[in-house]
Symmetry: C2
């Protein structure tokens, strides 16, 4: 048997132990995990220093190096996040529906863990603790396959978490860190369809495509966010401007940042010059259609590629549209099913927008930046699904479970046999 | 562009139209579909006669030929099933949760259709109408890829359904029947990950494996049912015998039939001889462990392959176990996550069984044959999922939708900018 299969099978066995844990045990385990991260602070930071040194030697710098970096305050933040997850409601065992059938059968729908979740991610070592904690709180075991840049940090974090498991006599394989980071090993992991119940890739487009291409296990993609703001003819202009600036500039590098502004032609003459001025003061580069460029100077021509782009930068695509229908058509063509916003004072326009747009999150008069598990009340998130199956949008602990059926009877049979 | 991609894109466009339909329009559409099936009865039966003739010429006979056969009463049954689906509650638009955030945002979880569903199935032409009706009621468009034996029947049924679409000015591509049944075309369909939201394979193991191997779109498997009955030491023997006979003999060829009997050693001496006698009178062949064979004559030796088998026939595997834990271990090793039953009068044993078994449906003192969407109150089912993601167990209309987020505000931003 291959090494990765052996590891995954041990994780599957551990998932059976996780399935049986009650809420209080899981909470205590998570608190002990947080304490272990703090107790092993020096070892984790030393491992991280080694990763940083190797990354620097490879020429990695800027935002990527920053994502890799841990320090005392970031590590304290990771422990705090694990404790917050321990305080979430336990989705496992939740009875979502109950029905008594005419024949007397009591039918319940009850949430159970998915089983074994494989997280595939890149450079950020905090995901190792975050993802493990959220998967465990939902009763799952987890296989973690992080990026090579963070390997020593991830190993030190996993090692700390394991000390908490030993204390509770839970198999450490419930959190299995893959140290063999060859691509062919990842492919093998993604094809263990008798073991892995779900793979969640989190990272750049290249990683997501690789996972989707090679996986034979179910995948929930956390794909790009090409988020739109449509400023309707009836919009409150000051409100719309606030949403625009917050959406584009408050954190341009994240998936819930705005990438495209659509403006109704009846408000464009008034709104667009103001908007462009404010955005340019914030350092935003604008790329627009001909109509927008005729209204305001300083907008470069936009191509279809710009409308399809997740810039993750201070760049915004702009288009003036004839009406709500044209805005909807644009989003249907160029959107990525992540988050779209309408600014309007017209209830009927809001209703039509919500009805026609199939994205995971649709906002009326609120910033796209709220498209986040914490902000929407999930407590914590493992990511934002753009797969329209199982979970769509921010995924919390509940999205790491599934409903099954429990049926209680007193001897009911489907075809009674008279002879018995 | 390939022909299959062109067809699938038209289906995706139609899914946008389906998404926007209100409940009453969908119900009227389904009633018109049922009426069209009746109106085109002669054409459908003539097409079916052609399929039957070709199948007979190819040497197909018995149960498989019977599954392919339509007649007036079966066709009337198909129309009735479509009308019943029209009467189901509409899952689309259902608000499953509502939360007001501290900042005043109103957050709703609302069900929307999945989009485009590809049904991959085998010889039964009734699936063409059934699956189309259930997918449409949940607001989806559907791509149907049936078996070659039923092609003319399926074409005639799809043609009848399309007349109802034209009446409502809904694109007929909302129900797209694939007539090119080459394997490479099916592979291409299963890899249209920008178009197809879900593939559901229904059929034999070969088909399921083929789809799982080649799909790059999400798949929910309707895999085999190796269903177990565990007769606990405290079971009511008459009750357990009823469950056993119903589970094994009432319809042995379906996935919710029993395949394995596990008997607690403390009740085996009394229960097993009675059970074997009744089963043998029903024509059931028994294959058992050494302990069962020592207790009763006429049981052939069982292998591990027998314990893993979905016999779909009048064959039952038998094993005497030391206790509940050994029964659970057996099911964890050999089960297929479909349906398991415990017969017991001991609440604690029932609780432990339910807690340890992760199958989609767990029954206490009820027949495995109730593991069915209609019997469990879903109204109709598209199948029984053995994939522990999205839907697990019988899948009704609601399982063909997903929850998304709708957020309403009055201008909330995440990082207020003082300068605006």
């Amino acid at each position: 048997m291959s090494e990765i299969r052996t590891l995954a099978l041990a994780c599957k066995d551990a998932s059976q132990a996780m399935f049986a844990l009650d809420t209080e045990t899981k909470r205590t385990l998570l608190h002990d995990m947080a304490a272990a991260l703090e107790a092993q602070r020096d070892a984790i930071l030393a491992a991280n220093a080694r990763d940083l040194q190797q990354a620097t030697a490879k020429g990695i710098q800027g935002a990527m190096l920053d994502r890799l970096r841990l320090n005392e305050s970031r590590l304290a933040g990771i422990a705090t996040a694990v404790r917050e997850i321990a305080g979430l409601p336990d989705p496992v065992g939740l009875v979502t529906r109950h029905d008594t059938r005419p024949n007397g059968l009591e039918v319940e729908r009850v949430r159970i863990p998915l089983g074994v979740i494989a997280m595939i991610y890149e450079a950020r070592p905090n995901v190792t603790a975050d993802a493990a904690a959220l998967c465990l709180m939902a009763g799952n075991a987890v296989i973690l396959r992080g990026g090579s840049e963070a390997l020593h940090s991830n190993m030190a974090i996993a090692s700390a978490l394991h000390t908490a498991f030993e204390k509770h006599d839970i198999p450490t394989a419930a959190v299995t860190l893959i140290e063999d980071l060859r691509r062919e090993t990842m492919v093998e992991l993604l094809q263990l369809s008798d073991i892995v119940d779900l793979a969640i890739p989190r990272g750049g487009e290249g990683l997501i495509h690789f996972v989707a291409e090679h996986a034979r296990v179910p995948v929930i993609k956390h794909y790009k966010g090409v988020c739109h703001l449509f400023v309707d003819a009836s919009a409150d202009e000051a409100l719309a401007l606030n949403l625009l600036v917050d959406g584009k500039t408050s954190r341009p590098g994240v998936c819930n940042a705005l990438e495209t502004l659509l403006v109704h032609r009846d408000i464009a003459t008034s709104f667009l010059p103001r908007a462009v001025q404010v955005l340019q003061e914030c350092g935003v580069e604008l790329r627009g259609c001909e109509r927008s460029r005729a209204l305001v100077e300083g907008i470069r021509p936009a191509t279809d590629d710009d409308y399809a782009a997740e810039f993750l930068d201070l760049i915004l695509a702009v288009r003036v549209v004839d009406d709500l229908g044209m805005a909807i058509g644009h989003i249907q063509r160029f959107g990525s099913d992540h988050t779209e916003v309408i600014a309007t004072r017209n209830d009927e326009a809001a209703r039509r927008f919500v009805q026609a747009i199939r994205s995971a999150v649709v906002m009326v008069n609120a910033s796209s930046r709220f498209s986040d598990g914490g902000e929407l009340g999930l407590g914590a998130e493992i990511g934002i699904s753009t797969t329209r199956l199982h979970a769509y949008g921010p995924m919390g602990a509940e999205a790491l479970t599934v409903e099954r059926f429990i049926v209680r009877g007193d001897g009911q049979v489907r075809h009674p046999q008279s002879k018995l």
